[in-house]
C-alpha cells in the first residue's frame, strides 16, 4: 500500500520528508509513516541547530577573545574547537540545583520552554532553495508569534527562582521584549508589503534587489529589536552580568543552565537566519540552485559576526533608555518606513500589480535617502541627551592659584 501526501499539506514542499514518507509508506501504515518521516526531519533539524549552537559558542568566544586581544578558547582540539564539548561535559557533571522555595515545576519547565521557540523558528527558514522544513504561507507571522514565546520562559524563570536578582532580570526582560515586539512587527510589515508574500521562500524569491537596500530602516529596526529580544549588547539588561549578576537564569546550574545558554545562542542563530532570509536575499546568489546553502551560510556568518562585533564594542543601555529608544525612535522610524513603503508601492507598481527590479532599485534609493534623513533628524533631536551640557573646564585651574588662595 502506498501513501500519497496531499499537495496542500504543510510539509509537501519538503523533499526529504516526502522521500522518507514514501519509503516508509510502502511498508507501514500511513499515519506511522507520517510520524516517522516527521521525526527524521525533526531529528536532523534539531541536531543541526544544536551543532550550530555549539559552533557559535566557540566562535563567539574566540572572536570576542580576538576583539579583546586575547586568544580565546584554545585548549581542547585544534583552535579550541572542542571547547563546547568540554563545556557540555562540565555542565553535565555539575549538580542540578533547585533553590529552596522555588516553584519546582515552573522552574524545571523553563529550559524546555526556552529551547522550544528557537527550534520552532527554524522550521520555516529556507536555508537553501526548496529546503525549508515547512514552507508556511504565513511564515513571517509564524516567526513573530513563536519567537515571542521566549518572554514567557524568561518570566517563568524569574518568578520561580525565588531570587530577587532573577526577578529583576525577568521584569527587565519582559518590559524590553514586550516593547520591542511592536517596532519589529511594523518593520516586517514593510518587507512583507514589498515582497507581496508572507512565506519566507516568497520573500527570498522577491529579493531581486536585497531588501537590505530596499528596506534599510526595517533592517535596522529588526536587528535592534532582535538583539533586544535575544538579550545581546547593548540591550542585554535582562542578564546584565555586572548589575544583576545573571538576571533571570541566576539560579540555574548544570544541564539546565546549558540548555538556557544553548537556546540563547540558538536564538541568535535563528534570528540571524531570519535576517539573512528577509533582508540579505537568503540563499540567492550565483548558482543558487546548487550553492544556495553556501550563500546562506556565508551570509549567516556575516550577520553573526556583526552581532559579535557589536557585542564586543558597546556598553549596555539602561532599561528605561532601551524602552525610550524603542518607543520614541524605533517605533517612529518604522512607522515612517511603513508609510513611505506603502506610498512607493502605490505609485510604482504597474498594471499587473507587481514590482519589477527597476522599481525595487528606485525604492531602494528613496528608502536609503529616507533612512539617512531619519538618522539626521533623530540625531539632531537627541543631541541634547548626548551633547555635553557644559563641557568640563579644559584643565584650567592651576595649583599655584590654589596655593595663593590658601
Amino acid at each position: 500500500m502506498s501513501c500519497r501526501l496531499a499537495a496542500d499539506n504543510v510539509l509537501y514542499g519538503n523533499p526529504l520528508f516526502r522521500w522518507v514518507y514514501d519509503l516508509a509508506g510502502s511498508a507501514l501504515p500511513c499515519w506511522l509513516a507520517y510520524i516517522i518521516a516527521g521525526l527524521v526531519v525533526m531529528f536532523i533539524v534539531v541536531n543541526g541547530v544544536l551543532a550550530g549552537t555549539a559552533v557559535l559558542t566557540w566562535a563567539e568566544r574566540k572572536l570576542l577573545g580576538r576583539f579583546q586581544n586575547r586568544v580565546g578558547p584554545n585548549r581542547w582540539g585544534p583552535f579550541g574547537l572542542l571547547q563546547p564539548m568540554a563545556d557540555l561535559v562540565k555542565l553535565l557533571t555539575k549538580e542540578n540545583l533547585t533553590p529552596k522555595g522555588a516553584d519546582r515545576l515552573v522552574f524545571n519547565l523553563v529550559p524546555i520552554l526556552m529551547m522550544m521557540p528557537t527550534l520552532l523558528v527554524v522550521a520555516v527558514v529556507p536555508f537553501a532553495m526548496n529546503t525549508a522544513v515547512a514552507d508556511l504561507s504565513i511564515g513571517v507571522l509564524y516567526i513573530l508569534a513563536v519567537s515571542s514565546l521566549t518572554i514567557l520562559a524568561i518570566f517563568m524563570a524569574g518568578w520561580s527562582s525565588n531570587n530577587r536578582f532573577a526577578l529583576f532580570g525577568a521584569a527587565r526582560g519582559v518590559a524590553v521584549l514586550v516593547s520591542y515586539e511592536v517596532p519589529v512587527v511594523l518593520s516586517l510589515l514593510g518587507v512583507v508589503m514589498v515582497a507581496g508574500s508572507m512565506s519566507l521562500s516568497g520573500v527570498v524569491e522577491a529579493q531581486a534587489v536585497p531588501f537590505l537596500l530596499v528596506q534599510p530602516i526595517a533592517l535596522f529596526v529588526f536587528a535592534a529589536g532582535t538583539s533586544a529580544e535575544l538579550n545581546r549588547t547593548p540591550f542585554d539588561v535582562a542578564e546584565g552580568e555586572s548589575e544583576i549578576v545573571a538576571g533571570y537564569h541566576i539560579e540555574y546550574s548544570g544541564i539546565k543552565f546549558a540548555i538556557i545558554q544553548a537556546s540563547e545562542f540558538g536564538g541568535t542563530i535563528t534570528a540571524s537566519a531570519v535576517i539573512v532570509t528577509l533582508f540579505l536575499a537568503g540563499w540567492q546568489g550565483p548558482l543558487a540552485s546548487y550553492l544556495g546553502w553556501l550563500w546562506f551560510l556565508l551570509k549567516l556568518g556575516l550577520v553573526l559576526f556583526l552581532f559579535v562585533w557589536v557585542r564586543a564594542t558597546y556598553p549596555r543601555l539602561r532599561t528605561d533608555q532601551i524602552m525610550a529608544f524603542s518607543w520614541k525612535f524605533l517605533l517612529s522610524i518604522s512607522l515612517i518606513n511603513l508609510l513611505a513603503t506603502s506610498l512607493e508601492i502605490y505609485w510604482l507598481r504597474g498594471a499587473e500589480r507587481a514590482l519589477t527590479t527597476g522599481d525595487l532599485w528606485i525604492m531602494a534609493l528613496m528608502n536609503l535617502a529616507i533612512a539617512a534623513a531619519c538618522l539626521l533628524v533623530a540625531g539632531r533631536l537627541s543631541q541634547a541627551k548626548v551633547r555635553r551640557v557644559r563641557p568640563p573646564l579644559p584643565v584650567a585651574a592651576s595649583g599655584t592659584a590654589a596655593r595663593e588662595a590658601r
Binding site: 572572536l63 577573545g65 580576538r66 576583539f67 579583546q68 586581544n69 586575547r70 586568544v71 584554545n74 562585533w309 557589536v310 564586543a312 564594542t313 558597546y314 538618522l375 539626521l376 533623530a378 540625531g379 539632531r380 537627541s382 543631541q383 548626548v386
Partner: protein, 212 residues
C-alpha cells in the same frame, strides 16, 4: 553626528581583531622575567651564613626559623655556629625581600622561580636540606654585585658562593670566623672544612658564572 562615535568605536575593535594577542599561554609560553624578580625558592649559601638571624629578626612576618649550636671545632676554620635549622615557611611569605636586605653577609638571596605550588600548606616550607641542595640561582634583587656582573638567573647558570658576595670570599670567610684581616695575612693558608669547596683555594676568582 549622532552615532558617529559608536562607529569609530567599532573601528577600534575591528583594528584589534587583526592584532596579535597580547596574552601569554602560560605553561607553554612564559613572559621573560627580570633578573630582579623576587621569586620563591630562596637561595641560601651556608658557607656565607653566620647564623646571626638578622633575616629572621627583620622578617615582618617572622617566618624564618633558625636554630644554631656553637660548633666546638675550629673557629679559625670559619665555622663559628653550626646551623641546625633554617626553615623558611613560604606559605606565609609575602616576598618583600626584607630578609635579603637585612643579611649582612650576602648569604640569603631571593630566588628566581615562582612555581612552588603544593597541595598542602605544610609542604610550603623550605627546610634547610632543600636550601642546601637546591640550585643556586639567586635573584639580583638588592644585590648590586650580581647586577654589575649582568647575572641573569633565568638563563639557568648557578652562582657559586664565592662569587655571590660583594667582597672577596677570602676576606669574608675570615670575617665570618670572627678573625680580622690583619691577624691572618696569608690568604693561601686558610683551611677549609666546609662541605663543598674543599679545593676552594685553587680556584681563581674569575667572573661570575652565568654572566652574559
Amino acid at each position: 553626528m549622532y552615532g558617529l562615535q559608536m562607529v569609530r568605536g567599532l573601528l577600534v575593535t575591528l583594528k584589534n581583531l587583526t592584532r596579535k594577542p597580547f596574552t601569554v599561554q602560560y605553561p607553554e609560553e612564559r613572559l621573560p622575567q627580570h633578573p630582579r624578580f623576587r621569586g620563591e625558592e630562596f637561595v641560601w649559601y651556608e658557607e656565607r651564613c653566620t647564623g646571626c638571624a638578622s633575616c629572621a629578626k627583620y622578617c615582618p612576618l617572622g617566618i624564618i626559623k633558625i636554630v644554631t649550636s656553637p660548633s666546638g671545632t675550629a673557629v679559625p676554620q670559619g665555622d663559628k655556629y653550626r646551623l641546625e635549622v633554617f626553615d623558611i615557611e613560604i606559605a606565609r611569605c609575602m616576598f618583600c625581600g626584607l630578609c635579603v636586605e637585612a643579611c649582612p653577609y650576602d648569604a640569603l638571596f631571593m630566588g628566581s622561580g615562582f612555581e612552588q605550588g603544593r597541595y598542602s600548606r605544610r609542604d610550603l616550607v623550605i627546610p634547610i636540606q632543600q636550601l642546601r641542595e637546591s640550585d643556586k640561582r639567586p635573584s639580583t634583587w638588592f644585590r648590586p654585585q650580581l647586577e654589575e656582573a649582568k647575572y641573569n638567573p633565568h638563563l639557568g647558570q648557578p652562582v657559586d658562593w664565592k662569587q655571590a658576595g660583594r667582597e672577596s670570599w677570602r676576606w669574608h670567610q675570615r670575617e665570618k670566623a670572627g678573625l680580622r684581616l690583619d691577624s691572618h695575612p696569608a690568604d693561601s693558608n686558610v683551611p677549609d672544612e666546609t662541605e663543598k669547596p674543599t679545593q676552594a683555594n685553587a680556584l681563581p676568582e674569575g667572573p661570575v658564572q652565568g654572566a652574559r
